[in-house]
Point group: C2
Chain length 479, copies 2
C-alpha cells in the first residue's frame, strides 16, 4: 500500500491553521454569547460541523475547499419560530459586523447568515437545542445531533481516515450530497469510517459487499427495510432517516469502481486533481470522427440557487431527449452543464458572475434528418366508430393484421427545426421544463453544431472541459 | 341493391359449358370404371369439387379461373397405401392417355395426377372411400365428405349465392386458401352461404358480427373453443377441424372492410377486376417524394411448388427487416413478390417459364446510413467477472446508473453494405431463409435502388404492378 503520510500532510490543516480557525470560531461564539447575555436572550453559540469534528480538509491546491466554520446559535425548544428567526439573525448580524465580516442571508429549512471573515467562510445558523430527533423542528437542528454522534464515536486517529476518504471522494468526483452531484455527504463519509474502521476498509467493504440494497445500521434500529434507495445507512441519530437518501445509483457505482481501481493499483494520484490533457483540436477531431451530429443548446441560467437549478437542467435535458426519440431522431448521448459554479459563495462582484452564467445542453444524434412520412397506427378495423373517423382523416390508410395503418407527414424532418419548434412559445408546453428555465429559453437561446462551436478559435474553457468529459466519461475513476 | 343478374350471367357457366364439362367428366369416369372392371381393381371414379357442387365460376375475362374438374378414384378402406398409389395412378394415367390429354404427377398428402384435356384442367386423385372423418387416411379423403355435405345442404338457388361470394372474394383479393394468399377456400365460402343464407347475408354478418374469435358451428359440435385462429368455422364433417385455419387475420380483416364498403355503396364493379391506373412515371415520382430509400432485392425463384415458395419468401422478408431494424436501420415498409404465378398449372412450355421466375423483396428505409458508433450495454458493475472481461475488451466504457456502457464500431454503416454482408456465404446464417432460396441467393442476386430501377425505360410490368400496389395497399377493397 502507498504511504498516506505525505497525502495527509497536504490535506490535514497545519497546527497554525487549526489554531487560527479555532481562535476565530471561539471569538465569534464569545461575541454572540456576550451579546445574548447583554440583551437577555436565552441562546448559546456552539461550534458544529467538520471543524468541531476535526475532519475538515485544508485548502491545498485548487480542489474543493471543505472548510466552512459552522456556528449554530441554540435556542430553547420553548422559543417561538418567529423569535428564533428574528433574535437569531440579529445576533448573527451583529456578530459578523463586530468581526468586520461581510454577509448575506440564506434559507435552508429556515434562514441563516453566511459570511466571510478573515478569509474564512462562516455560517451562523439559529437552531433549537434538541437532544433527540423526536424534538426536531427543522432539518438544520439535526446538525447538532450529527456532530455530537460523530464526536462521540469517531476514535482518535480516525479523523485521518475520514479526511482520506473525503479527499478520495472529491478527486474521483463522488463527494457532495447536493443535487448537482448526488454523491456522498461529509456525515456519510464519517459514518462509513465509524462502521468499517478506516479509509481502506471502507473501500474494501464497498468493493466487496456493496450492491443496490446494501444496508448499514450502526445502532441496529432494524428500520433499514423502510428505505429503497440503492445504499441505506440508517442515521444513528434518527432510525427513520436514511443518511444516503440523496446518493444516486450512478455515484454509488462510480465510487465502487473507483474503490476497486484503487485497491487493485493504489496510486497517490487518486488524492490529487487529475491532470486532464485536452485541447480543442482533439475534441473537434473526436466529434468529427464519430460522424454523428451534435448540437449545443445554450441559454442564460436563471438566477436561482444551484440546488434548484441543476434538477431543472437535468429534467429539461431528459425531456428534450425523449421528445427527439419520440419523433424518431435517435439520440446517441446527451449531457448538460452550467458554468454557474458556486457563484453564490463568491460574495462580492455578483453582477459580473450573473452575466456569465449559462446553461448548455449537448445532444449527440444518430439520426438528424428523416423522410417525409412516418407510419402511424390507427384503430383496429373492428372499431367501427373510430375507423370511420380515422378514414375520413386518412383516406390512404391500409390494413396490417386487423389494424389500420397510415402514413402521416412528419411535423419536422430535421432535428434543428424540431428543437426550434419546441423552444417557441407555442411549442414549449411539450417540454418538461421548470418555469425559471422556460422564461430564459423563451427570451433567448442558441442552437449550434458542436463542430461550428469547436471551429471557432479559443472556445470557452469550461465548455471545452465539459465536452472533453462527455467524450471521456469515467476518466476520474481511474488513475 | 344492385341487380345481380347480369353479374351472374357473366360468372355462371352457360348451359353449353355445363354440358361440355359434365360430358367430359362422365367420359373420364367411364374410362376409369371400365378399366378398373377389366383389370379387376375394386375402385370407382366419382366427380367431386365445385363441378359436382355446381358452384364453379365460368372463365369470363382474365380473372382467376375456378374451373378444375376433380375426379376422385375411390378405393375400399382395406386397400394398402402402396396399392392405392400404384393402382390409382395407373388408372389415372391410362385414362388421360386414352382421352388424349397431357399430365404430370403431383403430391398433396399423397400423389395424384393433374392434366389438361380439351382445354380443361382435370385432377385425378386416388382416395379411400370413407364415410366419416374417423376413417380418414389422408387429407384428400376429406374432399369426399365436403362435397357430400355441401351437395346435401346447399339449397337450390344458393349455388348462385356461392358464386357471387367467391367472385367478390376473388375481386377484392381475399379468395384462396393457399399460403400465397391466406384467404378463404371455396368450401369455406360454401359453408358461409349455408350458415348465413345468401351472399348479402354473409357480407352483412361479417360486417356486423365478425371479430377475432368469432365462432360458426353449423352442427353444434361445441368444439369451437379448441381453436384459436381469428375465425373459427367448425367443419361439419369433422368437429375437430377448423375450416378457416389457414385464413390470416389480414385477409379476414380485408374481407370485413370490403364487405362494409360494398354494403355502404354497392357497385357492380366489385365483381370485376379493378382497372388499376398506374404508370412508371407516377410510381417513380411517389417514391421520390417520400424521401425514403427503397431497395429492391431480387434473385431467381427456386423451382419448388408455389405453396412451399411463398412462405419462404415471406419468412426471408421478415427476417431481413428484423436484421435491419436490429442494426438501427429503421424500415418504413416492406413487401415481397414473385412472378412465378401459377407456373405449374401451365403445363407445356415449362422451361421458358422457369427462366423468367424471379423473387423480389422491397425494403423501404427511413434510415439507410448511420454514424460510426453504436452505444452498447455491458454488464452491471456489480458483476465483477463480466465487468473485468468487458473492460478488457472495451477500455473506453463508462457507467450509467449501475451498468457499463460502451461505444462499439458498427459493422455496417449503410444499409447496402449490411445487406451485401448478409447475403454472402459467411453472413447468410444470420438470415432465416429456406434452403432453396438460400441456394439461389448465394448463386446470384441483385440489389438496386428503386429509383434506378424506375429510371430505366419500360420496367417489367409485373414489377410495376407490385410497386404500385405497395404504394396503394388496400385499393382492391374499395370501388
Amino acid at each position: 500500500m502507498i504511504d498516506f503520510k505525505p497525502i495527509l500532510k497536504d490535506i490535514e490543516p497545519s497546527k497554525e491553521e487549526e489554531e487560527k480557525v479555532h481562535n476565530l470560531a471561539d471569538k465569534l461564539m464569545e461575541i454572540i454569547n456576550i451579546a445574548a447575555q447583554k440583551e437577555k436572550i436565552t441562546a448559546e453559540a456552539v461550534l458544529l460541523g467538520s471543524v468541531a469534528k476535526n475532519t475538515w480538509i485544508s485548502s491545498v491546491d485548487n480542489g474543493d475547499n471543505d472548510l466552512d466554520i459552522d456556528i449554530f446559535i441554540k435556542f430553547p425548544l420553548t422559543t417561538s419560530p418567529d423569535n428564533l428567526k428574528s433574535l437569531g439573525l440579529k445576533l448573527a448580524k451583529d456578530c459578523i459586523e463586530e468581526a468586520d465580516g461581510v454577509y448575506e442571508e440564506r434559507y435552508a429549512s429556515h434562514p441563516y447568515l453566511t459570511g466571510t471573515i478573515q478569509g474564512y467562510q462562516v455560517d451562523l445558523v439559529p437552531c433549537y437545542d434538541i437532544q433527540h430527533s423526536r424534538e426536531l423542528k427543522s432539518a438544520v437542528d439535526r446538525t447538532l445531533l450529527h456532530t455530537q454522534y460523530v464526536m462521540g464515536n469517531l476514535k482518535t486517529g480516525q479523523e485521518k481516515e475520514v479526511r482520506l476518504l473525503k479527499r478520495f471522494m472529491q478527486m474521483v468526483g463522488t463527494y457532495g450530497s447536493e443535487f448537482k452531484v448526488g454523491g456522498f455527504s461529509g456525515y456519510l463519509c464519517e459514518l462509513l469510517v465509524i462502521y468499517y474502521g478506516s479509509f481502506l476498509e471502507v473501500l474494501q467493504g464497498a468493493w466487496d459487499e456493496w450492491k443496490p440494497g446494501i444496508q448499514i445500521d450502526l445502532l441496529d434500529y432494524g428500520t433499514a427495510d423502510m428505505f429503497n434507495e440503492p445504499l441505506v445507512v440508517v442515521d444513528p441519530t434518527d432510525g427513520n432517516r436514511n443518511v444516503s437518501a440523496a446518493l444516486t445509483l450512478q455515484k454509488m457505482s462510480e465510487f465502487v469502481i473507483a474503490a476497486g481501481n484503487f485497491l487493485k493499483k493504489p496510486e497517490k494520484s487518486y488524492f490529487y486533481p487529475k491532470v486532464i490533457e485536452y485541447n480543442q483540436k482533439d475534441i473537434l477531431e473526436e466529434f468529427s470522427q464519430r460522424e454523428t451530429t451534435s448540437l449545443i443548446l445554450s441559454f442564460p441560467a436563471p438566477n436561482i440557487p444551484s440546488d434548484a437549478l441543476h434538477p431543472q437542467i437535468r429534467k429539461t435535458e431528459k425531456s428534450l431527449v425523449k421528445i427527439l426519440e419520440t419523433a424518431d431522431f435517435s439520440v446517441l448521448g446527451s449531457d448538460s452543464w452550467s458554468n454557474e459554479g458556486d457563484v453564490d459563495e463568491n460574495i462580492g462582484n455578483k453582477e459580473d458572475q450573473v452575466k456569465r452564467k449559462e446553461v448548455v445542453i449537448l445532444l449527440e444524434m444518430n439520426t438528424w434528418s428523416l423522410p417525409l412520412y412516418k407510419k402511424r397506427n390507427g384503430p383496429a378495423i373492428w372499431d367501427k366508430g373510430n375507423t370511420s373517423k380515422f378514414l375520413k382523416k386518412h383516406p390512404q390508410s391500409w390494413i396490417e393484421g386487423d389494424q389500420w395503418k397510415t402514413l402521416s407527414e412528419r411535423e419536422y424532418q430535421d432535428v434543428d427545426s424540431l428543437i426550434h419548434g419546441i423552444l417557441k412559445s407555442d411549442g414549449i408546453r411539450r417540454l418538461r421544463v421548470g418555469k425559471h428555465l422556460k422564461k430564459e429559453i423563451l427570451k433567448n437561446y442558441g442552437l449550434r453544431d458542436v463542430i461550428d462551436v469547436l471551429n471557432v478559435e479559443d472556445a470557452d474553457k469550461g465548455l471545452l472541459e465539459f465536452l472533453h468529459h462527455y467524450l471521456n466519461k469515467g476518466e476520474f475513476l481511474l488513475r
